[in-house]
């Protein structure tokens, strides 16, 4: 099997996610972009698994999914708290933690 197409797609999705994180101010959108990046990685893992014919990649993908789910739980909670106090979900607003 030729994995090139899958890997290229994974790269494209990762880039979209990364650019989204860097450019979008809305926390929710940034968050979803992170999810995109994670899933791009998952795609690459699964592809690898398929190519080598082992289960390692799939296991890793499951790990990533679990971590992503846990992250969503914590992350969303934080975003909601910020939104409640500031009436905004912009990531640039929450910049108090600096020098």
């Amino acid at each position: 099997m030729n994995p090139n197409a899958y890997l290229v797609l994974s790269g494209i999705i990762f880039s979209i996610g990364a650019i989204g994180v860097l450019l979008r101010r809305n926390a929710i959108v940034a968050f979803m972009s992170v999810e995109l990046m994670l899933n791009a990685a998952n795609l690459a893992f699964v592809t690898g698994s398929r190519v080598w014919g082992t289960l390692d990649g799939q296991t890793a993908a499951f790990f990533v999914m679990v971590v992503a789910a846990a992250e969503v739980v914590v992350g969303l909670a934080i975003i909601i708290t910020i939104f409640r106090t500031r009436n905004s979900a912009s990531v640039d607003e929450a910049s108090l933690l600096r020098w």
Binding site: V21, L22, V91, S95, L96, L97, R98, W99
Partner: protein, 619 residues
Amino acid sequence: MIAAVIALPALSAAVLLSFGNRTNKFGPLLAIFASTGSFLIGLWHFLQMVARPAEERPALTTVYEWLAVPAAGFKINFALQLDQLSISFVLLITFVGTLIHIYSLGYMSHDENPRRFFAYLNLFVAAMLLLVLADNYLLLYVGWEGVGLASYLLIGFWQHKPTAAVAAKKAFVANRVGDFGLSLAIMTMFIVFGSVSFSDINSGIVGAPAWVSLTLGLLLLLAACGKSAQFPLQSWLLDAMEGPTPVSALIHAATMVTAGVYLIVRSASIFNASEIAQTAVVITGAISLLMGAIIGAAKDDIKKSLAGSTMSQIGYMVLAAGLGPIGYVFAILHLITHGFFKAVMFLGAGSIMHATNDNVDMRRYGGLPKVMFFTTITFFIGYLAIIGVPPFAGFYSKDHIIEAALSHSWWAGAAVLFGAGLTAFYMTRMMMMTFVSKSRWHDDVHPHESPLSMVLPMIVLSVGAATMGILLTRNHIFEHWLEPITGFVKPEPPLPIQTITTITLSVVAIGVLIGIWQNIKIAKVAPVKVSFVVKAARKDLYGDVLNETLLMRPGQGLTKSLNIFDNAVVDGFVNGLGLFVSGISARLRRSETGYVRSYAMSIVLGTALLIIALLMVRI
């Protein structure tokens, strides 16, 4: 057993100092007992020693091993050497010391804390005895600095007086300059001979190279100058008169200041081996004896005038000690007679001060014989003794020194002869101003004779001042007594003895006559228009000025600038390093903007950089 001589006053001092005010009631008496006990033990040893033949007289008592490093061949015992020389000192110190203890009972009766004073006196007696009994230089050094400490404490006894505190410190520091010499001498002895005991040095110095005796001699001379207030370390002695008068009598006249002479005589073998060192000693003595006499002749303060006189008389002793075997015995003889007559004069001065509300200005004395009979008589005996009128003590000791000096060289002889004239002059001046002239007292002063406790010691000492000379020189007793220790060679002056005596007495007579003639009328206030010699002498011949400009001011400047250097440069470097780091971090932390997206950006860029770097490495 001889250790008890030291232990008694030392223990008494320890008790008085550590139990404090609880000993106030019996303190002074305890101190007097300790000192008397010490004298009696000393006397007992003396009598035993006299009974033995000359070669068996010295006795060594090793108390314990003080410092010992066997691997390095380093061994210094706490050992006491009792010989003819040290027993002479023991008797002088304890006898005069006890009398002055008794005198202080009256003199210090109005003081708020006589107990402490007596404790210090005891401490002094103990330290001085250790100094003269030690069998090695290091133990001598313990006593040497011990008397320095006692002197420091006693000069500054009235601590509330800033002048006293300053004078005390000055005395200690000047002494320490001398101690610098003594320390180096002891260290040199150790590396050269592997020992610091008198006997080892005496036997080792014979075959030693010339530089050893020269170095040791000069270093010991420096030590002696510090302790004995000889030129150029003389300036502390005049300030030391800030202390209570009994202290001046005991420490700064009779005993401590003569320790330098003791040191030189004790080190006779070293000086005998180096002519240059001996000459240096003679020159030091000559300069000091003239300087002291000139200063003594210009002071109106009776104690300072006596202090100048002390410096001058010690100059005689040092000079005699520098003459070698012809002079050692006479140096010690003069030391002993001086101990008596100078002590009696100081005590007399104290008695007068006691009677005149602590006035020391001779220009406000006068007319005292009417009210202070005993003081006048005893002081007069002391006067006759110091100017060298036969048959008083000073005549014998000084005459011998003059003979010895003349047989050494014409200039040493001239110095001592001129000194004798000066002595006669300034002492006559003192007599005229204090006793003979009409009374010029302050209005509220009503002089009276001092109490018995003060008069008695003065009488005893004046008897000594009158008779000591005859007693010690009859049949050359003292020469034979000390000869086994110091060696003795009969001086052979270029002139017959009778001629020298006649010349000396004429010089003295001239001094006395000038003294009388100049002081028939005495102004209540010191005249301002005086010759430059008097002006200089009033300022201690610029000794202090010299110290200040040469040492004190540059020293202060040096310490201050070093302090600034330490703070600004050394510590400044450290602080600067700290500031540098914190400055850099203050700038770098600005990159922490708080924007999540910029952090993300740096992560992405960083990753990209890493990947590129990895790829490049692979290629």
